[in-house]
């Protein structure tokens, strides 16, 4: 039974205050239990063109694609825009250039990709046009205008990434002009790209130890990686991650996931490849050739 006239105003005040604080703290607790990610603003820095390799240029393109360019906000597997990461953009570009719906002036894929970033409505993939435009107007913003503001160099890097990620030759030339300003790699307003920063973190993120013996854990499912460096050179290790079905180790079956090349960032791939090939024998001439030949296509790993 409730007391009819229970408290003085002061007593009610304190009880109510305690209730208010308690409920407010519940909401605060929930906010603090959720994933804590900050969206950093682009910070401009200079690129040392002298030290720029095609690998790092492609890596820059990927970072821009997932960061400052905010491409992955829409170009993902959520169906908002064509999933570029899951498509071979060179093949798609060639097909679109032949399509009668194409309204641009490009004659090759590189020019088409650049054109599509500067004037996205030159070709709108069916089903992805603005509502009511019958797929003639793209909702995509022009990338060299605000709020994205990619520079010429940055657009070239993104094109290089789109070409390289599926193993196609990169036709974009490395920039040679005066240093240009580009965005820092960690820049992102999109869903966070959480790149592992150590080989151990990469192995944990992709569950390598679930099948392979490595890093003080043992598993008989796949070949041991403790001695990987004695059997494979650096490029072979890289290939076995990107395309595990290419060479199947004797005594094992083809069961390794084929999508690590898509899922891993270039940095993560480099970290784990460097780790597995650490202390390997000095590169043979064959290795050197392999390295040189892949400088323009390292992006295929992605």
């Amino acid at each position: 039974m409730t007391r009819p006239y229970p408290q003085q105003a002061g007593g009610v005040l304190l009880t109510v205050l305690a209730f208010c604080l308690g409920l407010t703290l519940v909401f605060t607790l929930i906010a603090n239990l959720l994933p804590q990610v900050e969206g950093e603003a682009p910070v401009e820095k200079e690129v040392d063109l002298g030290a720029l390799t095609m690998d790092s240029f492609v890596a820059l393109g990927e970072t821009l694609f997932k960061g400052k360019g905010t491409c992955t906000l829409c170009h993902n597997n959520m169906g908002r825009a064509p999933d570029i990461l899951a498509s071979n953009m060179v093949q798609d570009g060639e097909n679109r250039l032949k399509d009668e719906r194409y309204k641009g002036k490009a004659s090759d894929v590189e020019a088409y990709l650049r054109e599509s970033m500067l004037d996205p409505s030159i070709y709108v993939v069916k089903g992805f046009g603005k509502k009511g435009s019958n797929d003639s107007v793209s909702p995509m913003p022009v990338v060299d205008k605000a709020p994205i503001l990619l520079s010429q160099l940055e657009m070239d890097a993104v094109i290089a990434f789109m070409q390289a990620k599926d193993g196609n030759d990169v036709t974009v030339e490395l920039p040679k002009e005066a240093p240009a300003e580009v965005a820092k790699t960690e820049t992102s307003t999109a869903a966070p790209v959480e790149s592992a920063s150590t080989p151990e973190a990469v192995a944990a993120k992709y569950g390598c130890q679930a099948c392979h013996s490595m890093m003080a854990t043992e598993s008989p499912v796949g070949p041991s990686l403790v001695d990987a460096k004695s059997r494979l050179n650096k490029e072979a290790i890289r290939q076995s991650i990107i395309d595990p079905a290419a060479v199947i180790a004797e005594g094992f079956v083809d069961m390794m996931p084929k999508d690590f090349g898509d899922k891993m960032t270039i940095r993560e791939l480099d970290l784990i490849v460097d780790y597995l090939s650490a202390d390997a024998a000095a590169p043979t001439p064959q290795d050197a050739v392999a390295t040189t030949s892949t400088t323009s296509t390292t992006g295929e790993n992605q």
Binding site: Y5, A9, L13, L23, I30, A41, A191
Partner: protein, 622 residues
Amino acid sequence: MKRDILLKPISQVPIFKVTGLFIIACLMVALLSLATDFSPITTAHAETVAAADAAHDSGHQEAVLDLSTAAPKLKREDYPSVGVSSRGLVWIVAQLHLFFAAFVLAVPLFVLVIEWVGMKTKDARYDDMAHEFMKISMTAYSITALLGGLLAFSLFLLYPQVMGYMMRVFDSQVLVYALLFFFESAFLYIYYYSWYALRYGNAKWLHLTIGLGLNVVGSTLLVIANAWATFMMAPSGVDIATGAVTGNIWEIIKGPLWNPVNLHRFIANIAFGGAIVGAYAAFKFLSARTQEMRAHYDWMGYTANFIAILAFLPLPFAGYWLMAEIYAYSQQMGITAMGGILAWLFIVQAVLIGTILLAGNYYLWSGMSRTEGSKRYAWLIKYIAMVLVACFLVWVTPHTLILSANEIKQLGGSHHHLLGPLGIMPAKNIAVNLMLIFTFLSFQLYRRADKVATVSYAPALNALMVAIYVVAIANVIFAGVYYGYFTNTVYKVGSSVMQVVSTLIVIIAGVTIDAFLFKDAKKLPSIWGQVTNRSQYALFALPIAFTWLMALMGYVRSSVRTHWHVYTVMKDNSPDNYVPAIGYAGNMMTIATIIFLIMVLFIFWIASLADTKQANPEEAQS
């Protein structure tokens, strides 16, 4: 007695005190803005003008722009530092000002309606209640003005370049705002202090007219201030490349998001105001010392809850419109809010809205104990509660989970095979629409509890009402499941319209059918004050959740600009130009909410203190 006001020294009359404070604040703001405008041009602004001039001279500018109004390109050193986070300071002060402003603009809106109802029904209870609502908002009004002045000072002190640009863009419109505030003060005080002087006959009409004037001015203030916020989100009337003004003031004000924000804030303010006065009624109810007072404040709490929930029901639809316009303006901005870094905030939003709906429903169920007639419907309550809780759980199910590699392996992916589908929008649309429909059902049952229909066609109307509920619920579920999971994205969005229409039909049909059904109905006795003390805490839960929700959604609205002061026009290069983590943002919201709640409780206490009279010791002795 009311004429005493004319006999007091001017500084002792509250109206002149507060208005005087506000005028001083306005004058200082105007002076600061003029100082910002005419002070020697700062480096950042000078560089922008020089660059734009150069572009202009070299023929790159196609149209003639007034480059003196261009947006400056700021560097880190252009932001004054006071040793603490400038954004943090402005965040708290702005949020507090907005809480109070929303309250004082909303209360006169429903007070006017209640006063009009009192006049039409000749029931003095309505008139007294309306006056008491106004009494609460009077103290809040002076706090709003003080916080507004503090906010202006903070902005001009900490973001002088940004405010300088905003002043150049909005120009004399800012002074119109200040002038309107003067009129608002005048209308407000005349409306409140003339309440009993203009209570009957034609004088009442005059009083209502003053109230109407108060609301017209108040709503105008609201939409003017909204224009500043929406300009920063989706600028119009300026050159995007330089930020220079190209249009007239109307073109600047009427950006693509202005009207959606106007509608959303207008409705939300009413819900918020209703919730706050509901808490006041609950406070008075709990501290009441007579049955008469309990009955009065129980009725007041019921009315306030009615206002809050009634305004809250259409709010999600106004939110849909706002978000649709954001997507239409910039798909990138829309996805940043709904699918990007801010997306997790909507889990917190689900918790808050779930709290509001559960508290609102609980209060209605508790209130049914006021009448014996409610026993007819008591069996339904447990089913309504089950649906609400189930929908709430669906709503808070996240889309993706942060998992370790081992957990991903055990789960077979980052999405649970059963719960994963509940994390996407179609499931949440079903949940929120069902929660609204069942909340309306609670409300309808409550309204029916003390009535017995006497019309001959009552069974037919009841059957029709049940059929409408069944069809609407089936439609909401079908549209969500079929179009949400078995068709592409375009249809997913379209299906939400079907669901919203179904919900609205239930609400409109329910109100209409009940109007006919209970014509000449038999009224069962209803005893005001016969509710549990526990039920009153639902009336406190509502404003707490509303306040936190306002802070949360305001944060989302502002943060979609990411690293821009004025989106696409003026970059934010301050040390705080990143989107903070949810935990930090939540802590800031909590700080603002707690300060606000303490101030509101202080207002309640002051209001109750005003009713307390000390006994004359000499009379007691004799």
